[in-house]
Symmetry: C2
Subunit: 368 residues, 2 copies
C-alpha cells in the first residue's frame, strides 16, 4: 500500500517532507563525504545540526533562558529514573499524581530512590478523570511533584481551567515535574510554571531513541543521589549532551521536525489544528448514539490520544481490517484498555481525522 | 565531495549497501503503509525485524544458548552503569583493569555503586601496553572483573597469546565483563569465557543510539542493587528489550549491518580482512623511518584503531587537509592524545587502507 494515515501512538507518523529530506541525506551530508549517521558528533557538521536543533526548539516552545535543554538517549522512562537521582536526596519524599498508566510507570522508576507518596490517583475510577485539586495530599517537604501532562493510553490530559478543564496545579515552592511525551509542542505552554518537563521524541518531536529534558537551571545545583556520571544531568549539560556519543541520527531527525513545525506556523498553529481534530473526532464518537464511546470525563479528554470502544467488541477485528483497507492504520487500542485508539499528534493533518470520521460513520451504517 | 574513505572512530562508516537499503525503506516499510521509524515496536512488522536481528547476531557471533541478548538504548557508557547495578551487591568489591581511556570511563559509572578496585593499570606508562597477568591484583570475592577488549583512543587490544599478545585472563569463578564496543564481530570470539560482553553499536554493529549486551543467563539471578525498573536487565529480557519503546530505527539499521556481515562471509572473513588492513597500516608507520610513529607495544596493538603521530606535529594540519582532498576523512586524533588516528572497522575495505598508506607515503615524500 502507499503511505496511509497513521494513527500510531508512538513511534508515530512523521511529516512526509521530513522523511524525504532524511532519504535525500542518507548517503551524504553536505560535503562531509559521509552520511550524517557516519560522522563525528564532535565535528563541525554535527555540532551545527545539534545547535540548530536546540535553537529551533527554544523558539518553538518559547523556552526561557533560565532553563537548560538536554538531548539524551532513550525515552521518557529513563528520565523518570534520572529525575529522582538528580533532584531528590536519598529517601526524600516525592509526590506523584497518577492519572493513567504512564504515571504509574513513573513510580516504578522512582520508588527505589525516594519516599514515594501517591498524592492523588484516579485509578479507582479507571483513570477516566483527574482528581480534584482539593483531594491532592501534597507534601510540603517534597523534592518535587510529578504529573503526566497527557496520558497516552488512557487519553486523559491536563487542560486549561479557562477551557473548563483541570489545570496544572500551583505547587508553590515545590517544583512541578511533568512528563510531556505525548503532548509537548501541541499548544502554547508556560514553561516557567514547571521545574522540569521531559518528553520522549517519538510522538510530537521526531523519532524514537532520543528524549528532551527542559529543566530550570537552579535545580541543577541540587546534590541528588550517588550516581554514575552518565546519569548526571549537570555533567551532561556541561558536555552539551555529549558526555557519551549521542544518538546523532535521531537528534538530526528531531531537528528536521522542529524546523517543519516552525515552518508550518509554530505551536499556535498546531494548537488550532489539534483542537479542530479533537473536536471532529469526539463529536463523531459522542454523536454515534452509543455505537462508539469514549469514557473519559469530557473536561480532561486528551487532544492527542483518543481511546474509543465499539459497543459490540465482536466488530473490533472487522473495524481494524476495514480501516486498513481504507488507508487508516495504527488504530488498535493498547492492550491495557483494548478497543481502539486514534493518536492524532502534530503530524496528523485534519484531513486524516476527517477520513477516519468518514470511515467510522460508514462502518456504523454497515454494522449498526 | 562524493563518499570518502571514512576513518571516523564512531559514529563510523557504514556499508554503502546498508545506507542504500535504509534510503529505499525510508518512506514505506513493505506494505505497512508507513516508514519503519513510524510503526509500533509491538506490531508484527517490527517484531519480525527485531527477531531477525537477534537471530542473525547469534549466528554471526556464535552466541551460546545460555547467553541472553539485549538491545538497549544509548551506548556502552550506560551499560557501564547498569553492570554494577545488576550484578554487584551494594558496596561489593568489583575489579577493574585499565588499559586506556574507556576503562577509566567505566570506573566513573561504577564507583558510586561498588567498592571499586583498580586491579591493574597501564596508565603510568601512558596506556601503551597491558599490565602483565602476574601484576593483576584480583579480588577473590569480586562481583566481577571488568576489562576493555579494545581501547578506541589508545589503540590497545587484548590479543590471543598464540599470536604473541596479551590474552584475556582466566578469572576463575569471578565472571569477566568486557567492553567490546570497538572490536565486537571483528574476529571469532569464545563468548563462553565471559560473564557479559557489551558494545555500543556505532563502530562495528551499526548506528549510534543502541547497544548490545550479551550476558550469561545465570548471572541474571543475582539481586544486584535497588534500582529503577528501566535499569533492570531481567525485566528488559522478560520484555524482549521493549520495557520502554526501543530505538527502532537504530535496531533496524543494526540488523541490516548484521545481515551484511553474514553475506560478506561472517567474522572469520572480517578477521582476515582486519588482519590485512592492520598489517598494511602498521607496516607503513613502522617503515617510515620515524616520520610516523605508533607508540603501542607491538604485541597489543589494536587491529581496529591505529593512533599515530607525525614526528613534526607542525605538519598535522597539512596532513589532515591533504587527506581530505585525497578522499580520506575522520583521521584527526582524539583530543586526549592528539596526532592522528585511523579507525579501520569492518566496514572499511582493504582498498581504503591501501589508499591511506599511499597518501601517507606521498605526504612523507613531500614533507620528509
Amino acid at each position: 500500500m502507499s503511505r496511509a494515515y497513521n494513527f500510531s501512538p508512538g513511534p508515530a507518523a512523521l511529516p512526509e517532507s521530513v522523511l524525504r529530506q532524511a532519504q535525500q541525506d542518507m548517503l551524504e551530508w553536505g560535503d562531509a563525504g559521509a552520511s550524517i549517521v557516519e560522522i563525528s558528533h564532535r565535528g563541525p557538521e554535527f555540532m551545527a545540526v545539534a545547535a540548530a536543533a536546540e535553537a529551533d526548539l527554544r523558539t518553538l516552545l518559547s523556552i526561557p533562558d533560565d532553563y537548560a535543554v538536554l538531548f539524551l538517549p532513550g525515552g521518557a522512562t529513563t528520565q523518570q529514573a534520572l529525575l529522582p537521582l538528580n533532584f531528590a536526596a536519598p529517601g526524600q519524599r516525592a509526590d506523584y499524581v497518577l492519572t493513567g498508566h504512564w504515571g504509574k510507570t513513573a513510580t516504578r522508576q522512582a520508588h527505589a530512590y525516594v519516599d514515594l507518596n501517591v498524592a492523588a490517583s484516579s485509578e479507582a475510577g479507571g483513570f477516566r478523570d483527574i482528581p480534584q485539586a482539593g483531594e491532592w495530599r501534597l507534601s510540603p517537604d517534597a523534592a518535587y511533584v510529578h504529573v503526566t501532562a497527557n496520558e497516552t493510553i488512557h487519553g486523559v490530559e491536563f487542560r486549561p481551567a479557562a477551557a473548563g478543564g483541570h489545570a496544572f496545579p500551583d505547587t508553590g515552592d515545590v517544583p512541578l515535574f511533568a512528563d510531556f511525551s505525548s503532548s509537548i509542542a501541541s499548544e502554547p505552554l508556560d514553561i516557567s510554571r514547571f521545574g522540569a518537563i521531559y518528553a520522549g521524541a517519538q510522538k510530537n518531536l521526531g523519532p524514537v531513541g532520543i528524549a528532551v529534558v527542559i529543566v530550570r537551571r537552579d535545580l541543577l545545583e541540587r546534590a541528588g543521589q550517588p550516581r554514575a556520571d552518565i546519569f548526571d544531568y549537570r555533567l551532561q549539560l556541561a558536555a552539551e549532551s555529549m558526555l557519551n556519543t549521542p544518538p546523532t541520527w535521531n537528534w538530526y531527525l528531531a531537528g528536521l521536525v522542529f524546523r517543519w513545525m516552525l515552518d508550518e506556523g509554530g505551536v499556535a498553529e498546531f494548537a488550532r489544528r489539534n483542537a479542530e481534530k479533537a473536536r471532529l473526532l469526539y463529536a463523531a464518537i459522542d454523536g454515534s448514539g452509543g455505537f462508539y464511546r469514549n469514557e473519559v470525563d469530557a473536561a480532561v479528554r486528551s487532544r492527542m490520544n483518543v481511546p474509543f470502544f465499539l459497543a459490540d467488541d465482536a466488530h473490533d477485528a472487522a473495524f481494524l481490517d476495514g480501516a486498513r483497507a481504507a488507508g487508516l492504520i495504527g488504530l488498535k487500542g493498547h492492550r491495557v484498555l483494548g478497543g481502539m485508539r486514534a493518536s492524532i499528534y502534530n503530524a496528523m493533518p485534519v484531513s486524516g481525522v476527517a477520513a477516519l470520521v468518514d470511515y467510522m460513520q460508514a462502518f456504523q451504517q454497515r454494522h449498526g
